[in-house]
Amino acid sequence: MLTLEGVSKTYRVGTFGGRELVAVRDVDLQVAPGEVIALIGESGSGKSTIGRMVLRLTGVSGGRITFDGVDITGFKGKGLRDYYAKVQGVFQDPFSSYNPIFKAERALELLRQTYFAGLDGRRWRDKVEASLDAVRLDPGQVLGKYPHQLSGGQLQRLLVARALLLDIRLLVADEIISMLDASTRIDVLNLLGDLKARGLGILFITHDLSLGNYISDRAVILRQGEVVEEGPVERVFGQPQHPYTRSLLASVPQLHRRWDRTGRDREPAGEGGG
């Protein structure tokens, strides 16, 4: 479905644009229907840049991105509109994804103007309710509300519902649960799991390895714009090959397993004199 071949992105930096910064270097990647690919990396690894290139929010400097075999870089006008009917993104901060002076459902209304202009009010409402139902939101609790009246989890699910209105086939989920509380982030993850079961392909971008493995089929570990390791999640997390992957995994705080402390054991509180 989605294929990246040797994709690179360079930015011109410096006062006169004289230097080049390589944000993404020669990345190959594929997402099939019903498959979740975790794109994992620390800040500056280029993971969000890849997502932005797939969503056509930024250009590609080298290589090719194709969707169903068609190069996406050439899309304009109607072609781009059709592409966005199949591919949508949801981002990290749900609060800044909405215009605070309008009601939250305006995010859905804007889609209607572009894609469902012919739909009458009743059928539109049914469609909205069906997609809210899919993300387990109660229409009565979210419609007619302003963004500040809703929780982060509700806003984030509303954005996924917005994407689902379009019957999309690929979702680019860029750190979509990083800002949510622990008790609600698992609901959004489960939601993505349900959507995956319905055939949606998901590019799941995250810096958090423990979230990367819950719903994903394959993991891609990025470091400074390059793929250092890639494979089925069980293997990447179970037998990491690259030293960088191993050091990342060792740094993840986990319950029931303490960090290896080099050269020092923990002293119990209060001991050791003053």
Partner: protein, 316 residues
Amino acid sequence: MSLRVDNLKVWYRTLRGEVRALDGVSFTVADGELVGLAGESGCGKSTLGKSLIRLDGRMRHVDGTVELDGKELPIGDSERMNAFRFKEVSIIPQYAMSAMNPTRRIGRLVAELLESRGVRPDGVRDELLRRLELVGLAPEVLDRYPIELSGGMKQRMVMVISTLLNPSLLIADEVTSALDVSTQKAVAETLVSFRDRHYVKSTLFITHDLSLVYQIADSIIVMYAGRLAERAPTDTLVTTPRHPYTRMLLSALPEVGVRYGDRRLTGIPGSPPSLLDPPAGCRFRDRCPLAFDKCVEQPPFVEVAPDHQVACWKAF
């Protein structure tokens, strides 16, 4: 006993009334203890941290006392608190990235800060250099502007500045949430080493991340909707939690190795009550699967085992 907080209530003034963000909180922190304060957004954990050092204009000290090393902290009186700030109580703020004055070289910033507290910068310069080395910063950072440092470097610099006068209590408020995992580990371990080296006597480590606090804390306090839900030594809290909220929160955490297909985790349905006019009784009862008639009364925060306190009627 280094810190003793007794029935502390700090509310926020808003146009619609008072928000009971911190509503009757009691606990102690022993000398040398590193206590993790965990909870979700809006539970009052940051309010508690701020209350111990500086109430902002919207906050009102309603009730309760705070004692540090046997002396009462005048938390409601900002002028009198000045004598304690930085020297006795210090904070590493949540946004260390923007905690330093961008118009000053760091060395000058530190000197000005010390002078404002009546401390001669020359007297602590050697100690400052020693601590910079400990956190892996070269002495040259003192000649740089904050903007020239990376996020992790700024974080470490702020940690050194905050603890320079060996405060009795250090409040670390979400100090790692903006950092990458490897930097996060380094920062968390630095906090432990500051404690081990007696740069600080006791530490209150505020975080939303239970698996992080599990790595470094001696004991963990879990807050919910302005009150303490549970407190226990770290291993006890994580392996045998007694409060339904703690249990549900722990079981909602995806861990490396747990897969959606094999074992489906569940979140906690519902959301915390509004603290503008919170319901009487246990504040978790609307979301609690164990709730029964008694829960309309507020459960006391009592010891159910040595060092293990819980506020739940079902835990007795």
